[in-house]
């Protein structure tokens, strides 16, 4: 499935292939109000990766519910709405507004966006605050709540356990690592925002490690992501313990990344005689 923020609201990719083949669609982070995001430049390239500081640009939850989700509903695929906010109240208000819509199947709480001052990363780095957001959102939500964890923490396992105890139905990891690049011509950071979120193949080893650790420590499913470019990368995540795998940056490099990875996994299962891909989940530690 495509990862949040890397697939817009799906429209662009629908020009390339039928979105119904996807396992699920995670749409771009949605906030209470319209947000115009950060100034440009918003992306920079890094070795085997990229930095982004989009800054949660989105039309706000009302418009998303009114226009984007009903459009996506034409495809026969679960819709996961990514929710961001700067206070617990904001998270809850967005959740409440979403609860009036039938056009979504799960909520992914983004407590890990590194690109805006109040993008929720304070919730993503402290187990108690994270647990509080999740508890309150669970009360307001009519669909399962997935918590997206930040890798920029000392102890990812206690973050995951804290949100599990608070009622999270699944965790997804990893969001981006906080990074920076400096332009040698100007000697200033390339991104207008200074820091940005690092994604792509460069972060895959960190993501695999965190999935491996978290999936052994919690009972809820783990959605793995971070640098998945090929079916082999997805297999690594499954073996590490992810029950599902999301694809972010790869969609930018190759708009057909998702269908190609899905096809690759099918071929792998066929040639290896694997009936159900879930057999592979956690192979690295089982």
């Amino acid at each position: 499935m495509p990862a949040s923020g890397c697939f817009g609201f799906g429209k662009e990719y629908a020009e390339f292939y039928d979105l119904s083949i996807l396992g699920a669609i995670m749409v771009k982070a949605t906030t209470l109000e319209t947000r115009t995001g950060n100034p440009t430049p918003r992306v920079a390239e890094t070795p085997a990766g990229m930095l982004n500081a989009i800054g949660l640009q989105n039309p706000g939850v009302d418009l998303v519910v009114r226009e984007e989700l009903p459009w996506l509903r034409q495809y026969d695929v679960p819709i996961i709405v990514n929710v961001a906010g700067s206070t617990v109240e904001e998270y809850v208000q967005v959740t409440e507004k979403l609860s009036h819509s039938e056009d979504l199947d799960a909520i992914e709480v983004n407590i890990s966006c590194p690109n805006v001052k109040c993008g929720g990363i304070q919730f993503g780095t402290n187990p108690e605050s994270a647990a509080e957001v999740v508890r309150e959102m669970k009360k307001a939500a009519h669909v399962p709540v997935i918590v997206k964890l930040s890798p920029n923490v000392t102890d990812i396992v206690s973050m995951a356990k804290a949100v599990e105890e608070a009622g999270a139905d699944a965790v997804s990891l990893i969001n981006t690592l906080v990074g920076m690049r400096i332009d040698l011509k100007t000697m200033k950071p390339i991104l207008a925002n200074g820091v940005g979120g690092l994604s792509g193949p460069a972060v895959k080893p960190v993501a695999i490690r965190m999935v491996y650790q978290v999936s052994q420590a919690v009972q809820i499913p783990v959605i793995g992501m971070g640098g998945v470019m090929t079916a082999e990368d997805a297999l690594e995540f499954l073996a590490a313990g992810a029950s599902a795998v999301a694809v972010g940056t790869a969609n930018f490099v190759n708009p057909y990344a998702c269908p190609e990875i899905i096809a690759g996994l099918k071929t792998y299962c066929e040639t290896q005689g694997i009936g159900n891909i879930q057999e592979l989940v956690g192979k690295a530690w089982k």
Partner: protein, 256 residues
């Protein structure tokens, strides 16, 4: 996404390369659109580079791009040799609209903003209209596509250091007489140049600017390449340069 074979790949000025690609039969485009090009197939350069379509020969189906070897990515691209394939996405974005009613168009280009004007000049003149081009460069060594543009009309060249053509900026050459003689302008180049052009022309002549920004996806999904515009009714909008652009109405762009 296609893989096109390199037919030729040669320097045309200092740090300027022309890349000729054999394209498929279905290929068609509007001048001002761009290709989103992978410079290698590995992960070293993850992001594609936007490069304007410069010239297309429908008979041989050879498409030419002209690009500057500036950073590491274009340096890697420049190493690729004829016979190799290049992974491209596109044509993408909205090109320059050609207006039936126009008689004389003014093309203004700066540096690597000149390439898209070549195919534009060709298509405008093919409709029986005339074009005049004003193109500016840093210095003599990096002047490109002057001869190609001369095939379609008058070309005025200037350089910042006076080493070739007029000594000065393109805006110096936008005389009142010239502006009075044209129905529309089409411009492409660095942002400060575009801003100066729009400032100088004001609302006297309608026209278009083609903008540049660092891109992620190139197809409108990542929101990396946004630009504020404001239309006649005063509606402010955050537009994606890769999808709603790169070409915008010069009067609508909000220059900061």
């Amino acid at each position: 996404m296609k893989r096109w074979t390199i037919l030729a790949h040669q320097p045309v000025a200092r740090q300027m390369m022309q890349l000729d690609l054999q394209v498929d039969d279905a290929f068609a485009y509007v001048p001002g659109q761009f290709l989103h090009v992978r410079v290698t197939d590995g992960h070293d350069f993850l992001l594609r580079r936007p490069i304007s379509l410069c010239n297309f020969d429908p008979d041989t189906r050879v498409l030419s791009l002209v690009y500057r070897v500036g950073g590491d990515g274009t340096r890697a691209l420049a190493k690729r040799t004829p016979g190799m394939e290049v992974d491209v996405l596109g044509p993408l974005g909205q090109g320059f609209p050609i207006h039936e009613e126009d008689g004389h168009a003014l093309l203004i280009g700066g540096g690597i903003g000149v390439p898209p004007l070549v195919e534009l000049a060709k298509q405008i003149t093919a409709q029986g209209k005339t074009v005049t081009a004003v193109i500016g460069f840093l210095t003599k060594d990096v002047v490109i596509l002057e001869k190609e543009l001369q095939m379609y009309g008058d070309v005025f060249v200037c350089t910042d250091d006076g080493s070739y053509g007029h000594h000065g900026r393109v805006t110096d050459l936008l005389t009142a007489d010239l502006l009075a003689s044209v129905d529309r302008y089409y411009s492409c180049g660095p942002l400060p140049m575009l801003q100066a052009i729009v400032g100088k022309i004001e609302a006297k002549v309608p026209g278009y600017v083609s903008l540049e920004e660092r891109m992620g996806c190139g197809i409108g999904a990542c929101m990396a390449c946004v630009q504020w515009t404001v239309d006649e009714q005063g509606n402010k909008r955050l537009q994606k340069i890769c999808k709603q652009g790169p070409v915008f109405d010069g009067r609508e762009v909000v220059f900061e």
